[in-house]
Amino acid sequence: MGRHDTGSPYAPHTPAETDAMLDAVGVEQEADLFDIPEAVRFDDEFGIEARDERAVRAEMQDRLAENDDLVEFLGRGHYDHYVPSLVDHLADRQEFLTSYTQYQPEIAQGFLQVLFEYQSMLVELTGLGIANCSLYDAATGLGEAATLATRVRETSGSHVLVPEHLRAGKRGVLANYADGADLTVESYPMDDGAVDTTALAEAIDDDVVMVYAESPTVRGVIEEDLAEIGGLADDHDALFCLGSDPVALSVLEEPANVGADVVIGEAATLGLGTAYGMGMGLFATREDFLRQVPGRLVGASEDESGRRAYTLTLQTREQHIRKERATSNICTNQAWVALRAAIHAATLGPDGLVETATECIERTHAVAERLDDIDGITAPVHDRHHFREFVARTERPASDIADDLAAAGYAVHAVEDDLLQICVTETNEQAADELVAAISEVAQ
């Protein structure tokens, strides 16, 4: 309002200040400062009308209110766990939220320590020696793993093997990363929702640089043959990259123990909740690959007075120093989401994490069993252990059922013609009874 009615409300200049500064610089007007050839000057308008803060809030919230208010039973790589209020309260402090990358560690010890703690938690969860302090998401993490594989392998190779059941978006991102490294992506078959290790053994050869598997899979199946997969990869000097997430890792066998060389996954399952797919890529790997790791690493050191201090380290791997020979082009990452995940994990503590994970097994099992009782539904389709989610076979077309459920107020995945997928966490479990009832209405 007032003098801030026009122009940017976030430019503090009073008219008198502006005049004094123009004088000091020796120009008459702001336009004179722009050294832009006439030919490319823009003299038109964008036609964006400035609105005050209240109006923008109202407008944006009204717009978002156009989203149908459905109870979501959706997963497949993006999960909704309850984020404790403390996470928002602390992460929103301006000293964290509005800070820059820690190029001046002496005034960034707070954020650096949180990232160091995040890395340490991931080291515990994965059993691997190194975790970086975030990539964009699980998909880009998978892409980075593939390029890492080409760098650490002694001989070149041309293939990456991925499971038949894989989120298309994740495979798509991998393909783009792989392409630049002259790799092609190929699928190996699965059997009843898990890796068909016999088929994998046939598919793999020395031209494979990396084998990727997930546990839980995109369908929520807990993989039982990880060590065997790791062994197969090892036999062919291929990296074994495992996809998982921090909640699952709190109870599942440590990836390091099944031969995983890299763990990637969606670490925003802690810290973020449902965010239209926004995530945060976890990336952990063996210490051998230290100098090939993509992304930022925080290390402990000392300051001049001998006290422990933290700093970004091994930056010579990064693009701003190594340019086209960098381990990755990543610069801005998801540091603040990593901070949120770390605070969330700390708030849960080991008991809370394990309890959350255990519920992801028990609750999912219970809901699947109840659906199986409904005529026209078989659940779970895969005779496996599940985590958070499972697929159910339908007699009616799955997409028709999904549409009917949407009309009734519930969102589920229709993954194939006759397959629904359902994800249950603590944030939608209160509506699970209603969902089961709604499905029984529309199953036939």
Binding site: P12, F111, F116, V251, S301, A309, H385
Partner: protein
């Protein structure tokens, strides 16, 4: 001012018992186990050991650390926006509307014809742009192997080009700090897929010959890529699309004031000219008679993010642009450029080249620029970016942004000038007044300790 690690406060190992067979589960999990009051103090204390944009000026060159309006946080936190990425488009019309609007805002601002919001950061935007250029050439049956990049460009440009399998041809800057047309002519060939350019460049200089540059690149069949890191200098004054750029990315966490989050998340939307829309990542969002829908562009490069990009950041971007409108955007650039020029005018350090726009690169000359930065910490301000770009000796790359007032700029100048008059010994022992003194980065890199487990092993 030492805060023990969480694990030093209280770690606890719990046994794992689940309904799963034992061989599928770990035996135990050891993590910090603290109560909420302890955690609140821990992180509150750590936050106080960190410098944010509300702590003081943050004149990091090429980083555009401007004030982040808090109301955009409220919009991003709106529960109605917290939807799953796999929701049917028909059931998330509000979100798609916001995507469509932001695509349009950004297209208008950049002079582009279509925009993807999927890239989750500026470098991801570069990679996306390079993929689009690659797809364009391949679509024309014209595979090309080289990308030309000036030596003053951001390191990410080189890395992004390499990631997509291109060879990088580095273009030496001219004597005036800008693109040298002769050097460019020498660098271009029928292998040139793309020229990646920052404009104003990292010295804050507008590439005066941009029309000629564009012609030359197009003449050899190449495309032009605009690195949006410095777009804050030009809002409403000039548009990359009008200069002949075919592809560009926007750093919304710079130009459009979304908070940098200590390293991210950002977002790096990519704009393209009409011919290139067919290559954009999938899905795009468009308006139809029945509302908004997602669609896959005809010859899409596919995916650059697992889902739809950094939604929370994009929501803040849209809110910021709506708040400022035309006049606010123009004013933001005007004040950013005025601030840079005013500040440069006050400095005792030499500022080569010019005229510059939103940033300038001073030279610490016979001082070590990194030491200068450390010493500036003692004056309570955040220092500039140092030692880069390399074409200025001991570079102090300084971008005050429009968010600083005259008084703060004067304080910054005082800090710069005080340090300019100090001797090497003083600089080398700096900082003295910060929570942590100078940190040993060399031994941190020589013997990396990247987790509390590593510390325990010592």
């Amino acid at each position: 001012r030492y805060v023990p690690l969480l694990s030093e406060k209280n770690n606890r190992e719990v046994d794992i018992e689940t309904p799963l067979p034992d061989d599928l589960t770990r035996d135990s999990l050891e993590l910090p186990d603290l109560s909420e009051p302890e955690l609140a103090r821990h992180y509150s204390r750590l936050s106080q050991m960190n410098y944010g944009i509300e702590s003081g000026p943050f004149p990091l060159g090429s980083c555009t650390m401007k004030y982040n309006p808090s109301f955009t946080e409220d919009i991003a936190a709106a529960p109605a926006g917290a939807v799953h990425p796999d929701r049917d488009g028909e059931t998330v019309q509000g979100t798609l509307d916001l995507y469509a609007q932001l695509q349009e805002y950004l297209a208008d601002i950049g002079g582009m014809d279509a925009v993807t919001l999927q890239p989750p950061a500026g470098a991801a935007g570069e990679f996306t742009g390079v993929l689009v250029a690659q797809a364009y050439h391949e679509h024309n049956g014209d595979e090309r192997s080289e990308i030309v990049i000036p030596d003053s460009a951001h390191g990410t440009n080189f890395a992004s080009a390499a990631m997509a399998g291109f060879d990088v041809v580095e273009l030496p800057s001219g004597e005036d700090g800008r693109v040298d047309l002769d050097a460019l002519a020498a660098a271009l060939s029928d292998e040139t897929a793309l020229l990646m350019l920052t404009n104003p460049n990292t010295l804050g200089l507008f590439e005066r010959d941009i029309v000629e540059v564009a012609e030359m690149v197009h003449d050899v069949g190449g495309l032009l890529y605009y690195d949006g890191a410095n777009l804050n200098a030009l809002l409403g004054r000039a548009r990359p699309g009008d200069m002949g750029f075919d592809i560009m990315h926007y750093n919304v966490h710079k130009t459009f004031a979304t908070p940098h989050g200590g390293g991210g998340p950002g977002a790096g939307p990519v704009g393209v000219s009409e011919d290139l829309e067919q290559f954009l990542p999938t899905p795009q969002v468009r308006a139809t008679d029945e509302g908004y829908e997602r669609y896959e562009p005809e010859n899409s490069v596919g995916k650059v993010h697992g889902f739809h990009g950094n939604w929370l950041v994009l929501a803040k971007t849209a809110a910021y642009i709506a708040r400022l409108g035309d006049e606010g955007l123009v004013d933001a650039s005007a004040k950013a450029v005025l601030n840079a020029n005013y500040l440069a005018e006050q400095l005792d350090y030499e500022v080569p080249f010019g005229p510059f726009h939103h940033e300038f690169v001073a030279s610490a000359d016979d001082q070590d620029a990194a030491d200068v930065a450390k010493r500036m910490l003692d004056y309570g301000v955040h220092p500039p970016t140092t030692k880069w770009p390399e074409i200025v000796d001991e570079a102090l790359m300084t971008e005050p942004t429009e968010g600083e007032n005259k008084r703060t700029l004067d304080q910054l100048a005082t800090a710069f000038n005080a340090v300019a008059g100090e001797d090497d010994a003083t600089l080398e022992s700096a900082p003295e007044r910060t929570a942590a003194r100078r940190i040993d980065q060399v031994s941190a890199a020589r013997d990396p300790q990247l987790s509390w487990q590593a510390l325990d092993e010592e």
